[in-house]
Symmetry: none
Subunit: 195 residues, 4 copies
Amino acid sequence: MAESRRDPRGARPSQEAFVRTTAALLRRQGYAATGLNEIVTRSGAPKGSLYFHFPGGKEQLATAAMAHAGGELASAIANVLGSSEDLGEALAGLVDAMSAGLEASGFRDGCPIATVALEAAAQSEPIRSAAADAFGAWLEALERRLLAAGLDAQAAQRRALLILASLEGALILARARRDLAPLQAVRDELRALAA
Amino acid sequence: MAESRRDPRGARPSQEAFVRTTAALLRRQGYAATGLNEIVTRSGAPKGSLYFHFPGGKEQLATAAMAHAGGELASAIANVLGSSEDLGEALAGLVDAMSAGLEASGFRDGCPIATVALEAAAQSEPIRSAAADAFGAWLEALERRLLAAGLDAQAAQRRALLILASLEGALILARARRDLAPLQAVRDELRALAA
Amino acid sequence: MAESRRDPRGARPSQEAFVRTTAALLRRQGYAATGLNEIVTRSGAPKGSLYFHFPGGKEQLATAAMAHAGGELASAIANVLGSSEDLGEALAGLVDAMSAGLEASGFRDGCPIATVALEAAAQSEPIRSAAADAFGAWLEALERRLLAAGLDAQAAQRRALLILASLEGALILARARRDLAPLQAVRDELRALAA
Amino acid sequence: MAESRRDPRGARPSQEAFVRTTAALLRRQGYAATGLNEIVTRSGAPKGSLYFHFPGGKEQLATAAMAHAGGELASAIANVLGSSEDLGEALAGLVDAMSAGLEASGFRDGCPIATVALEAAAQSEPIRSAAADAFGAWLEALERRLLAAGLDAQAAQRRALLILASLEGALILARARRDLAPLQAVRDELRALAA
DNA sequence: ACTCGCGGGACATCCCGTTTAT
DNA sequence: ATAAACGGGATGTCCCGCGAGT
């Protein structure tokens, strides 16, 4: 996890390219529909390197991609939640950020974890666990913000689950309908609830 | 949709078997991971009949299965929502029903539509549209119940979206964590919100 | 072979439709590439009738189509050969007639027998024999014309084989090159040879 | 086309095995009737390598096989044509060589290009073009021999077409009849014509 | 005379993972 | 660390032929 080699800033370029490309494809297509050939082709990295860096194959690559995407999104969530002192505005900002990303991608880029979680949770324990970890990190960020807003521990936990669940669900509905209305509804309801 | 021929009760036994088996497999594994061979084997129906009944292939079979599952769940939702005069209790009953199904299946049977919707919405317009139809039917049932509880039209629409979204999202989180807590949190929050 | 039923002139309509459609498809695509489904669809005849009229399946249908096409072309050959008293002109007219048909079809309709003969002669004795019969009928027409032009029996037989062979070969070359030059060359050479 | 790597003599053994086997099967059965499974089995080469060497699939494999067979036969034709100073004898030798091959194979191995050309010329442009190239090479060899025998350019071109066409046609007739008479007739006529 | 549905076996394609040789 | 090639299984699709039931 910390053995950089060539790049002084700590990146094996092709390993990273694999992870990034995989994360992007998993987000759009899910696990089963994403082939290693496609990953290799789009990443531009040499094919022979794949099983050098990821001897565990597709599963290991997917868990790495999920950890990567989960960590990135956790930071983004924390950032957005810290951008307003008003809880309602902070939550609305979170929903808006996800809305913007979804719309910008033509309703293709929703949650980077949910699709794989639904598909593969029952078939692969490492993938299920990677999904649970990502969700856990996001929930933690939400809980911290809710505690900061004055909720008690139990309420914060429940409310964080409601927020994340409604956000995830709204992303599903929005993708299926090609319509931002579900996200807007959730944003408005969550803002009202915070008041 | 009213063409019984031989069997006065059921009609087209293998066609129905295909649809039911497909619906069950899509719910657990999603679209890409579900092979036609598996469908044929588990349905017990003859393979040669598959392309007779569904010349559109896997896509047509999936949309039929989604319509089937969507309709069944729509009825179930309406039933549960009508089972209590108190809105909060009705919603809690809805969440509990989904919880029970998820737990009974070892955290494998979540929403019968969401997985396929996330995977294939961007790749197949008929599948996306089938998913949107199913969600639409469920939203309608929710809206009717909310209107009956006294909400005005706009509030009912928004609240229905929040309810469905949080339910869908909680099912994702619960499957990934193998833990009913997300569903319980959503149930409690929705019940409190209805009060 | 002679039990007409509905049509007073002696045609079971769907049986004839099968034969005609099959002949047309075999001419363009050959035997293996022509599916029964395609024949049924394009003929407009009911699918269930196929194995009633042709219990021998695809092979019987193909031999019937070859006999049909062979007979029709035999008449056409005899007609063209009888249209001029000059042997060279008669042969040139024959080549021109085939040329015209080939060009009119966009270089798709060549000899109605040759493709199937090459593909299936080694695999199906009835098909091989149907091809041999068709070629035999055409050779006979040619021989008669050559005898009428004064050749002796042995010369007529040899010359008929040369004429048919060069015509068949020119049709192959013309289809592959999408170019009538091979047919024109054969026409000119045969005309010169007849002088 | 000059990339030997491991084996100093042959190089790419499985790629070559695919091409040779495909050429042999196409010659006997044509394109549609020849399955990739059969090619893989009979070539003895590993199945996984097929789409590595021929990512274009069956079509690319067929065009490679046609180019291979076309080139080999072009050399053989040039050899035979150069084996006698008398044009008539040279042409008779050419026909005899093809006759011998046909008879030795039990009337199964005719022209290695004609069957595929007839079947697939209308459906696949690369295959049509491969066929045209093969025929073109053979025509060139014939034309060179005819020019060497004193014919002028135009006469040589026409005569070459007649020779190739009558040879191709005679091969069809001979296969359909299981009888070398058509080839013998063409040989005698061509020899007489050369005198 | 005709149809629907059965039956299962190919078809071409593409997959994921490994090996061998640099 | 990379590349070429292997290995064979699974994919969705479509095939031809045949019943049972009008």
